[in-house]
Symmetry: C2
Subunit: 427 residues, 2 copies
């Protein structure tokens, strides 16, 4: 085997292989830009170190591990490796989310493998779990906390009362967030992973760009507090759900309230979890370290072992072969949390209640904590289950009032009980 | 395929197969004692219903699903099926825990499969997760909540303040406990499952009878309360851990205190969870419904699909082929919880403290809730990490005091924090 990209994950893969976890694995080539500075002696005396991917492709290795990340040139490299008759193991969510079906067809045509367990939720063996572990079920929904940076930030806002900015700065200081955390915070990272999960678990081709994403940046300390009063926490939730009657699916990544006691609500720090709901097996959850060199390397090495043992699942079933993307419904039904920030005066609740009522939405509760200035007063309305489109329309309507100090924040409340079948019941 | 044993799980398997989850599966034979009363029309018009296992073996089915349960005659039937060149899928923990290695060798010799995902934790795909999902890791420890009956009883004692007897009666009324729950409550059920987990995940042959089990019957309402004061809950914990330097392993099933906030502590009702600790991947958890017809059937059908797809893992790696059982150490190090029930008088704490001190054990805390009669007063001592043998010796020593109204209950406290995995940079 050869490794392309000798960063944190690449080194961790080499370490595990050098440690002899599986005697059938042997590292013979490492390819990296400016490879001299990457060379380590513990990888073995026979390893060929090269700057050239072509040299790796021309070598006799049977499997190439792609760990350079990003879409380009990674995708072209994977194509090149498959064309040369190599199997490929990758941790690259961008390449798989955008080009997975085509690459898998190519692997199938060549009689080679393309495995990518590490592309979603790092060390959590969720893709194999979906394809094989719960193969006997008919899955309806997949929900996950797929971005460790967001989860770290939100749980620190909760546990230490930090502001979003301070929690993010702390995460960066501790290495839990990149210098540029845009992709994490705005949901694009989790969106790519969700597209892969929907493909493997629900059998639907989902275009990454069709998945709506909402950033977690608008979540403020006051929301964390109100969520707690509702028995909830706020999480960046990635969620894909089949719509009845084959009408495509709903898929989105957004901050949402989830029950404190739920599987999603209980994931802390930089961990990941994926919860699948099946028609027969109910709720099954997989959790663990979603990132970091060593856990991600475990997923890569598990893929390598499957190929070495000869029982890797063939390429054709990983993602739906048909290139026809499923329509992604943006609308969904759920109870909602709406936090207003207002310049207080009499009659505001009544005005808002009238607007919601006009849009056919029932109020569930109005919460207002004491101790805030009247000129910038946060308060919360929770709404009974209703369509997200109705909430958007009602809030567009309510924008005409001049008491808003800031635009309201609205979040769905995914609070159904684990055992409840089908839709969400807020009682 | 043919099914032997058409009870709750068998019917659920037939339902899933009839529902067309996987087009490659076809049910052609059902074998059950007195089969006429089992016949259903939805299974398909071509199904042959028979009382005779021999008829199933003589039929052209390629896979036989064994769901009759118990050790005999199930084991002989599985041998017979393999000898006739059939692959076998079973949910039978007793047969696999006691005879797994020999049966797998036989399957290997015949070039057939023997899969048993449903034998441990029902619908939770933990065996495949261990063998394939975290294959790239080197596992050190496996902990699980593997018995839904015990977990239901303990969580109901917690949440509703029920006595053990009332919680068990409720579980029986609701179908979460058998009419005779002995095997569940005394730990033998979880012990058989732990032996299988240790084989698949830690690569050690463990004789079921070598695994010490402690019943949960001695846990009283007062213990639930004291555990809560310590930030803990009480669970029936199945735990297998490799000892350093290849000195065998520790394995046991017993009630223990675990942190309320831990993965084990958060499993409620009749659910199961398995938490594995790996050298590289840190803590990875798998949870879901550990029993019930439909979830167990999902595991069976997933095994059938793996065989149909041709990527089932070959028999030789499921359990260690060598028949040499690993020595199972009964002793372990942990902080301990000791609850005394005494006829109160001055000097008792001092006397007990002296005994523990004499055995080299440091006290951590003494807890005594008000409101109990002096003549039958429960109080708790927690001990700093020490060997279980020292605790046993100290309590044997303390048995000479005449203030005991009942023998003390001592439980380990498995309260270590989920450790950080190797790397830290999130994605």
């Amino acid at each position: 085997m050869g490794i392309a990209g000798f960063g944190t994950v690449g080194r961790a893969v080499a370490r595990i292989v050098a440690g002899g976890v599986h005697p059938g694995l042997r590292l013979t080539h490492v390819c990296n830009r400016d490879v001299a500075r990457k060379r380590v002696d513990w990888a073995g005396p026979d390893v060929v170190w090269t700057d050239s991917f072509q040299a790796l492709v021309d070598s006799p290795v049977d499997v190439i591990v792609e760990l350079i990340g990003g879409h380009d040139p990674a995708r072209a490299w994977i194509e090149q490796a498959l064309a040369a008759g190599k199997s490929v193991v990758t941790a690259n969510k961008q390449v798989i989310a955008h080009g997975g079906p085509a690459l898998l067809r190519e692997a199938e045509r060549r009689g080679r493998h393309l495995l990518f367990e590490a592309a979603v939720a790092g060390g959590v063996p969720i893709l194999r779990g979906l394809r094989e572990g719960v193969a006997g079920d008919r899955l309806r929904r997949i929900q996950g906390i797929l971005n460790g940076t967001c989860n770290y930030v939100l749980t620190r806002m909760e546990s230490a009362g930090l502001t979003f900015a301070d929690a993010l700065a702390e995460a960066q200081r501790l290495g839990y967030a990149e210098a540029d955390p845009t992709d994490d915070v705005d949901g694009h990272d989790a969106g790519a992973k969700l597209a892969i999960l929907a493909g493997v678990g629900l059998g639907r081709v989902v275009r990454v760009d069709d998945i709506p994403v909402e950033p977690i940046t608008a979540v403020a300390a006051v929301d964390i507090g109100y969520a707690r009063r509702l028995g909830c926490v706020i999480r960046q939730v990635a969620r894909a759900e089949l719509l009845p009657g084959g009408r495509g699916l709903h898929a989105a990544v957004r901050p949402a309230l989830v029950s404190e006691a739920s599987t999603l609500g209980r994931v802390e720090g930089s961990r990941n979890v994926v919860v699948v709901d099946g028609e027969f097996g109910g709720e099954t959850a997989f959790s663990g370290f979603g990132a970091g060199g060593a856990p991600t390397a475990v997923a890569v090495v598990s893929d390598l072992i499957a190929i070495a043992r000869g029982n890797a699942a063939p390429p054709d079933g990983w993602l739906p072969a048909s290139g026809e993307p499923s329509p992604v419904a943006r609308e969904f039904e759920a109870p909602h949390y709406v936090r207003f920030m207002i310049d207080d005066r009499p009659g505001i609740v009544a005005s808002l209640a009238r607007v919601f009522s006009h849009h056919g939405i029932n109020l569930d509760a109005v919460l207002q904590e004491p101790g805030w200035p009247k000129a910038e007063l946060p308060f919360v309305m929770t709404l009974e289950p209703c369509s997200s489109a109705a909430v958007a329309a009602a809030l567009a309507d309510a924008a005409r009032f001049d008491f808003h100090v800031r635009a309201p924040l609205w979040l769905p409340m995914f609070v159904d009980r684990p055992d409840a079948a089908g839709g969400s019941s807020p009682e």
